[in-house]
């Protein structure tokens, strides 16, 4: 029978779309778009049955064509032909909208951009498609998750608008769906309105897709917006229109007259069905043979396949269940199912002395009330709805209700706060202290359990591992920004399967087998989930598999400690995630497995208040302060109930006192509540009135939060000046060589002019050469050279400054791009075609800055962006001194990005010069620079050679200057017996936009910062540091690392390792490592550096995976913990690492005791 009815099915990651079209007239007979909620096969079956039923044609008349990420496996079951989805969309667009030149299709898990380019000669169109490779960030799934997080209904989401908020956006990282959620949580806590968050999310998604998926192309009109999110979410369409239009203006795209933006960037009718249409178009194009080969075979096979689900042993990646046998599971559940908490019944009429701890966390707020012995009287838990103040009030009301129920009266003698919103809450309710989360968790675990070795705290967004020795914190690990392996991911997945998180464990325990997930990034896990669904794994099995991956993420991904038995034997599991018994089972099995082969049996305890451990720790701290005689500042329960406040976070609250431009939250509180606002650093009489952009209502006081530096804590500029002055004083008193190097490297230095002094026979021609040289120097005076302030130029800029200056180029004419900022990055990144590490990606944005801002101020003749292949360096016995290949080749990738569509350098009349340079080989370097610049600078070899020598000389001067500075700082540290941070990092981590201000925050806390290149290397220092070692291993000099790292060829890695050796040998130095995401040269050295430092118990802190996201909250938590740890353990650490200090310290201690007696 002739196939005159064509079914097009698009089976995507979240929805199934179906269309039925007549073959001859292409009339649309039937269409539907349904969410499959991870049941792709069931939904497909349902739609096909409906087609059969509702259209009631003879099934033999149908031919069926399938597309979409879930289509290839289903196609053979119904006799369909499979067509890849991007190709299907291309065909549909060509058939339905031949005037379209660009397509943006957002799906549930994938995003595609297709660009049609017309051959100027033939007029034929070629398509250039690109789609996200593995990460689901920037797609419908992210939008939906975040809408759920905010608590918006689908209807509100659909009508939300972008434009009203386009100018007041908050920062959301769309690069990673998990990071985006972290940001959203932060904004919610800070009181940012939901609509503003949503608009910011739309903006982030558009920017992300434009930066990554356009692969350097410009989306030309007409632009079609396809796929579910573009079809159903108005704000998304507006964001595309806003950004693409802006791009057209920037790139001077000529638009058709009288055409509106809405018409040029549009959502066509049936936009969500384009892939399904395209599948049919493919068949029509291929003709009878293809159509007949795709004869619809009915639903029988598909239905049968669903009934007789293939067993797990046929599937790839199969692992055992979470349990070995039913008995084992039963035993486990008996042992670990938590006993329900029963609040302590208070005596009727009693006045109970209590202590309150509040943990205002990322996903929930918890409060715990203890008695004077530290026993938990009552506790309360509220899931976050984005309003921490309200949640705290509700929690305390719960606790009070309990007392009322018992007929007792609460007398709160002390309050402490912890968690993300600890500062604001403490200010409002008058808490006696604000406790770092890690400390709070440690206190509660130590209080309840003896001989604890490791605390494993798994919260909503954070993973904290705290290692203890003799009851004291000896080390800790926190997840940096990636929350893979946290409870929130499990919760989200359960939600996606329509399972309440409370039933997660029961569901997961139903599985008799489970797929093996690769641990690591949550977006990869998400991708695996789709894959496993395709393979036929059930939701029970997938949930079990995810629970099993949790301990791997904790121990292998976040903390990288495969050898758990070295940490001790008592593990306390706490944090809200530990309520999930499947996750607990997986962790217990993992830990126990790691002890196989040792003589020890681990003792694994689940904290009896695991969800409220932080709040309990805070209450215990309040109790301690009370015992120490500190009177409580708590405002009291009565006044707490009367708190009236208003949160504001918009452009009026933005701080303009520094480049960070933080968007702050103003919480205005009625003044009948006495709030504990930090005393102003200036006397009131000295403050001249300065009007606020946001009027403070009479009878209210204002609490400001959400700032990244202290300047943001006030509105008044005069007060800010005083704060700044104080900050500057701290900074001045606390040296930071990283910041100093960053400033100094790009400054002009006095240099010797490269004038040839000729000898021998050359003297005969000297006059002419010198005359020419002088003439050429005059020519060069007027040349302007732009250099991007990126990558290895942070260490090598002095060479280039001196080189160009020496050749007669005025230092004013050597122009650098701005220091990295979020604004600079966002403005310039859209030409990016690949996704390397952040420092490399930044180069595209810096070039944009040079071409648009710097060039506009004063025209540039040349942009000089050298490809550094090797460095000069002080280390000995290394195999080579290579640069990282990503960094070396960045100038080539940048060149491609700026020349692919139009040669923008030529357009601006700028020469782009990017020579490959070997700075460790002077003769070669001379040749390389001469070949690259001889014409542009009208150079002769003599002056080039002299300029190279001058450059290298200045580089040495720069090096010596900072090593001397480093020596001074170390001398000071020794004198004052303080800690200073040695920064193990690459040169570009000197860029505050790359190090996210981490080092400055440490400096603010009073820790001197020493760059690894500022560590002294003079003979006296080295002799002191290495002492007898030099004699013991004569093959290793003080400047060699061959004793610990035999494969030393990456210069910056070698320097990191050398710096680690120095830090490990000096008691006043602690180490901090900065490393960027995807850094290929840092990764192999992680363990070696850790081991070098661990051997001498040198405190070592890492900030790895740095990229364009600046996870302020996470950074703050880590820095607070580091500070607490170093201050608390200072004497112990100094004693351990310097026996002389130990002796003096004990003498001093005895002396003090004697005085006290």
């Amino acid at each position: 029978m002739q196939k005159d009815l064509l079914i097009g099915l698009d089976i995507g990651s979240t929805t199934v779309k179906a269309v039925v079209i007549t073959r001859d007239e292409k009339t649309l007979l039937w269409n539907d778009y349904q969410r499959h909620e991870t049941r792709q096969r069931e939904k497909t079956l349902e739609l096909l049955r409906r087609i059969e039923h509702e259209l009631s044609y003879n099934p033999k008349r149908y031919a069926v064509f399938v597309t979409g990420s879930g289509g290839s496996d289903i196609a053979p079951l119904i006799g369909a032909k499979f067509i890849q989805e991007v190709n299907a969309v291309v065909l549909a667009v060509r058939a339905r909208n031949p005037d379209a030149r660009s397509v943006v299709e957002l799906g549930g898990q994938d995003a595609k951009i297709i660009i049609f380019k017309q051959d100027p000669h033939t007029g034929s169109l070629t398509s250039h498609p690109s789609m996200n490779d593995k990460c689901a960030a920037g797609t419908g799934a992210t939008i939906e998750k975040i809408a759920k997080k905010i608590g918006l209904s689908m209807a509100t989401l659909a009508t939300a608008s972008y434009y009203p908020h386009a100018q007041a956006l908050v920062n959301i990282a769309a690069k990673c769906g998990v990071f985006a959620e972290t940001d959203v949580v932060g904004h919610l806590k800070a009181g940012v309105p939901e609509e503003q968050i949503l608009a910011s999310l739309f903006d982030a998604i558009v920017t992300q897709n434009l930066a990554v998926l356009t692969r350097g192309h410009t989306l030309l009109p007409k632009v079609l917006l396809l796929g579910g999110p573009n079809t159903y979410i108005n704000g998304m369409v507006e964001a595309w229109q806003y950004h693409i239009h802006k791009l057209w203006q920037e790139r001077q795209v000529i638009l058709a007259k009288n055409a509106t933006i809405e018409a040029l960037i549009t959502v066509p009718p049936y936009s969500q069905y384009y892939a399904a249409f395209g599948a049919i178009e493919h068949a029509l194009k291929e003709g009878d043979e293809t159509i007949n080969a795709a004869a619809y075979q009915g639903t029988a096979t598909l239905a049968q396949q669903l009934q007789h689900h293939p067993r797990h042993n046929n599937k790839p990646n199969a692992g055992n269940a979470l349990w070995r046998n039913r008995d084992e599971l039963h035993h486990y559940l008996k042992q670990y199912t938590p006993k329900p908490f029963r609040p302590i019944v208070l005596s009727r009429g009693s006045n109970v002395e209590t202590f309150l701890g509040i943990d205002s966390g990322s996903t929930s707020t918890k409060a715990v009330l203890t008695d004077i012995k530290g026993n938990v009287i009552a506790k309360s838990y509220h899931l976050s709805n984005g309003n921490p103040i309200q949640e705290v009030i509700a929690c305390i009301a719960d606790l009070e209700r309990h007392a009322q129920h018992c007929g007792a009266k609460l007398h709160i003698n002390g309050v402490a706060t912890t968690g993300y919103a600890k500062e604001v809450i403490a200010d409002i309710i008058g808490a006696d202290t604000r406790l770092v989360e890690t400390v709070a968790h440690t206190l509660s675990a130590r209080h309840l359990y003896s001989n604890v070795d490791v605390i494993v705290d798994i919260g909503g967004q954070d993973i904290k591992l705290i290692m203890l020795k003799d009851g004291r914190v000896s080390d800790f690990r926190l997840n940096s920004q990636c929350s893979a392996g946290n409870g929130y991911f499990l919760q989200n997945t359960a939600q996606a399967f329509n399972i309440d998180i409370k039933h997660y464990a029961a569901t997961a325990f139903e599985a008799q087998a489970m797929p093996v997930f690769g641990y690591g990034c949550a977006v990869f896990l998400q991708s695996d989930i789709i894959n496993f669904q395709k393979e036929g794994w059930t939701k029970q099995e997938i949930l079990a598999g995810l629970a099993a991956v949790l301990p791997k993420n904790i121990w292998l991904y976040v903390s990288k400690i495969p050898n758990l038995s070295t940490l001790g034997s008592t593990f306390v599991l706490q944090g809200g995630t530990q309520y999930n018994l499947a996750a607990v089972k997986a962790q217990i099995d993992f830990i126990e497995h790691k002890f196989i082969g040792t003589d020890t049996v681990p003792r694994i305890i689940v904290h009896e208040h695991c969800g409220e451990a932080g709040a309990m720790g805070a209450a215990l701290e309040a109790l301690r302060l009370y015992r120490n005689g500190q009177p409580s500042q708590f405002i009291g329960l009565k006044r707490l109930k009367r708190i009236q406040y208003r949160n504001t976070r918009n452009e009026h609250t933005r701080c303009h006192f520094c480049a960070n431009q933080c968007l702050r939250t103003f919480t205005d509180i009625s003044t009948d509540i006495k709030v504990d606002i930090k005393p102003s650093p200036v006397k009131a009489s000295h403050i001249t009135p300065h009007p606020s952009k946001l009027t403070l209502a009479p009878g209210h006081e204002r609490i400001i939060s959400g700032f990244s530096c202290e300047r943001g804590s006030v509105e008044n500029i005069n007060v800010m000046r005083v704060i700044k002055h104080n900050m500057d004083q701290t900074l001045k008193a606390t040296p930071n060589t990283v910041a100093e190097m960053q400033c100094q490297a790009f400054k002009a230095t006095p240099v010797i002019a490269a004038m040839p002094e000729l000898a021998g026979i050359k003297r005969l021609f000297a006059k002419r050469i010198i005359k020419n040289t002088l003439k050429n120097r005059d020519y060069r005076k007027n040349l302007t050279i732009g250099i991007p302030k990126v990558l290895n130029l942070y260490s090598l800029a002095p060479f280039f400054m001196a080189y160009f200056q020496s050749l007669g180029i005025s230092p004013r004419n050597i122009r650098f791009s701005n220091t990295t900022s979020q604004q600079l990055y966002k403005k310039g990144i859209k030409r990016g075609a690949i996704d390397p590490c952040f420092p490399s990606k930044l180069a595209i944005a810096h070039l944009h800055d040079l071409l648009t801002r710097v060039h506009a101020k004063k025209p540039l003749n040349c942009i000089f962006f050298p490809m550094i292949d090797s460095f000069p360096g002080p280390l000995t016995q290394v195999s080579a001194r290579c640069a990282c290949p990503t960094v070396t080749a960045t100038p080539e990738a940048v060149k491609a990005a700026y020349t692919a569509e139009t040669n923008l350098f030529a357009k601006h009349n700028i020469s782009y010069v990017n020579p490959l340079l070997n700075l460790d080989n002077r003769p070669l370097l001379r040749q390389q620079l001469f070949q690259a610049l001889q014409h542009l600078l009208k150079l002769n070899r003599y002056e080039n050679d002299l300029a190279v020598s001058e450059g290298l000389k200045q580089l040495e001067v720069f090096d010596k200057q900072f090593r001397q500075r480093g020596q001074e700082i170390i001398d000071q540290l020794e004198r004052e017996q303080q800690f200073g941070f040695v920064v193990l990092a690459r040169p570009y981590h000197n860029d505050p936009g790359v190090n996210h201000g981490i080092l400055q925050q440490l400096q603010q806390l009073g820790y001197p910062i020493i760059a690894q290149d500022a560590l002294p290397n003079n003979a006296t220092f080295l002799k002191k540091i290495f002492g007898p070692e030099l004699a013991q291993t004569p093959q290793t000099g003080p400047m060699a690392i061959n004793d610990v790292w035999p494969t030393a060829y990456s210069e910056n890695t070698s320097r990191k390792i050398w710096a680690a050796k120095i830090a490990a040998r000096h008691p006043n130095l602690v180490a901090i490592e900065l490393s960027s995401f995807k850094c290929g040269h840092d990764a192999p050295a992680y363990t070696v550096i850790e081991r070098i430092l661990a051997a001498t118990k040198t405190p070592f802190f890492t900030f790895r995976d740095l990229d364009e996201n600046s996870p302020d909250a996470s950074i703050k938590l880590r820095i607070e913990t580091i500070d607490y740890f170093l201050k608390r353990e200072k004497n112990t650490l100094l004693c351990t690492r310097n026996p002389d200090f130990s002796e003096i310290f004990s003498t001093q201690k005895k002396h003090n005791n004697h005085l006290q007696q």
């Binding site: 890849q84 070629t126 790839p316 080749a889 290929g1080 002389d1140």
Partner: protein, 560 residues
């Protein structure tokens, strides 16, 4: 508090890596060298070669997804996938050995791992040895010997004394690599067109076994069992005569390999293999888009989960593959060394340290000698490869001249930038496109591969210039297989359209109909022997189109 006196560091125990265990020549008879990481064909041949050299060896099977997870667990976080796959495969192999009843100590004593590192530049590959040691340590095999072919004596001395890396060793491995390359290419060239499914694979296996045993029985090598012995002998005999004899010996070995008995022996065997392959029945009129494979060394070579088994997938989706021989990589390394040496020759004058004219002449002579040697090596390498190709009816593709690759790619990606293929990825894409040798290029790279990612960035400019070029970069690894396969399918659909268009145009240009072509090949079956129709190149990428051009050319003589 009084200021404490700082006297460092007498009491502290500083971390030092465990000194690596040495593999001595005495241990050789009872030690099995494990190796892997290439294709099964290469590995089997290397095993044959090692056997000829007097080593016991065993092959670690092609790494799987499970190995990847093991590697990820045990190596440093953030390493690239080849490290995870190969590291995990080694550990799992040892664990399997343990399951057979051997203790860890016995395994450490009886086995060693042989691998190569990267002398090409600062890519992470050069650090795999450290990663392997880490993975072995974490899995309880501390002290297990990891030997690298390029290894130089370190602080702990020469730890691979039992591995005699001399010219015999290098040349035997070179034979194995080249033969492996060529046999794989034979299979990839013929398999898409075979009429009896599985026939090519059967012939490939038979050929690999045959060539491996041929390599194993080659007996022109002197089994020099101890480097120590040689060194000791040298000390006791007259220095000058020892030097003279060792040079003569070296030259005779080289001659033997490149022009003498060994070469003849191998070429004869390859002729036999060529016959077997040529006997495979094929249907060259199957229209297949030709996909050129390029990318990072390991990702483009492996035939397992390390690249999502993409070669198998591509063939199942109807493509024919041009895989990349390891020989190109060797050629590249020799070429880079030549260029570096050439630089040095030119820079003698530029050295800041003043040297006497005589020293200058000496330096010049030194560099020149090296230059000649390198040129000779490169020539011999290409010549051997081509001779082997000829023995296989020229079915495998020739090595592309490095000079040519350099000139094609340099404008986009500096050819001296180190760290991997860099300019070569760009150049190969251009070479295959401009010479109509493939319909699309698939560049495979592990997640976060440094040079290869930058090369993708550069390809944007290449694609902007050549608008009908189909180029797709794929990051391979443990995750996101579905998405990667989908993206490959996406590009392959375009390549199929391109192949179809090419076929239609060809028929038009030749004035032939499909029926005519079919009739001619029915009447002249010699035209569809692999050695005839798969070696044709008349300016089209697909086999069918080239055959049509060929028929047009020879049709007058056939009809006469």
């Amino acid at each position: 508090m009084p200021v404490p006196k700082i006297s460092l560091p007498k009491q502290l125990n500083h971390w030092k890596p465990v000194s690596p265990a040495t593999f001595t020549s005495a241990q050789r008879p009872h030690t099995t060298l494990l190796f892997g990481g290439l294709t099964p064909a290469h590995e089997k041949l290397i095993q044959g070669g090692l056997s000829a050299l007097g080593y016991h060896s065993a092959i670690i099977p092609t790494p799987t997804q499970y190995d990847f997870q093991t590697g990820k667990e045990l190596c440093n976080y953030g390493l690239c996938n080849p490290g995870y796959f190969t590291g995990g495969a080694l550990v799992n192999y040892l664990l399997d050995l343990e399951n057979t009843g051997l203790s860890k100590a016995e395994i450490i004593q009886r086995y060693a791992y042989l691998t190569a590192t990267s002398p090409c530049g600062p890519c992470r590959f050069g650090l795999y040895q450290n990663e392997l040691q880490l993975a072995l340590e974490y899995s309880g095999y501390k002290g297990f010997r990891v030997l690298t072919i390029e290894q130089k004596p370190s602080l702990w001395g020469d730890t691979r004394l039992g591995l005699n890396v001399n010219s015999e060793f290098s040349l035997t491995l070179l034979y194995a690599l080249l033969i492996g390359d060529l046999l794989n290419q034979m299979a990839y060239t013929i398999r898409p067109y075979e009429t009896e499914p599985g026939e090519t694979n059967r012939v490939l296996m038979k050929s690999v076994d045959y060539m491996s045993s041929t390599l194993a029985t080659i007996n022109a090598f002197s089994h020099d069992t101890s480097a120590h012995d040689t060194a000791a002998k040298r000390k006791t005999t007259n220095k000058a005569s020892s030097k003279y004899f060792s040079r003569v010996k070296l030259l005779s070995q080289w001659f033997n390999f490149f022009a003498g008995q060994n070469r003849k022996h191998i070429l004869t065997a390859l002729h036999q293999v060529g016959h077997w392959f040529n006997d495979i029945e094929i249907d060259p009129l199957r229209l297949k888009p030709v996909v050129k494979i390029t990318g990072e060394f390991w990702a483009q070579t492996t035939e397992g989960d390390g690249n999502f088994k993409l070669f198998e997938f591509l063939e199942s989706e109807g493509a024919a593959i041009h895989n990349e021989p390891v020989a190109t990589w060797l050629d590249y390394l020799i070429h880079m060394e030549r260029l570096k040496n050439k630089d040095q020759t030119q820079l003698i004058d530029k050295d800041e340290i003043r040297i006497t004219p005589m020293d200058k002449i000496k330096a010049w002579m030194r560099y020149k000698k090296k230059q000649i040697a390198l040129e000779l090596i490169q020539y011999q390498h290409a010549s051997l490869y081509n001779a082997m190709r000829r023995a296989l009816y020229n079915l495998p593709s020739p090595l592309i001249n490095q000079q040519q690759l350099e000139s094609l790619g340099h404008g986009y990606y500096h050819s001296r930038a180190r760290g991997g293929e860099g300019h070569m990825e760009v150049a190969k894409n251009l070479y295959y496109h401009l010479n109509h040798l493939a319909h699309m290029t698939l560049s495979l790279k592990p997640f976060g591969c440094m040079p290869s990612t930058q090369s993708d960035g550069v390809q944007i400019a290449v694609q902007a210039t050549y608008k009908n070029m189909i180029f797709i970069p794929i990051e391979t690894g443990g995750e996101a297989k579905t998405s990667a396969l989908s993206r490959v399918q996406m590009a392959l659909s375009d390549a199929k359209v391109k192949a179809n268009n090419e076929w239609r145009t060809t028929l038009q240009e030749c004035g032939l109909s499909i029926e005519t072509v079919q009739r001619v090949i029915q009447q002249h079956p010699q035209l569809i022997r692999p050695a005839t129709c798969l070696t044709l190149h008349h300016g089209a990428a697909s086999v069918a189109a080239n055959l049509a051009y060929h028929i047009k050319q020879i049709l007058p003589s056939l009809t006469r």
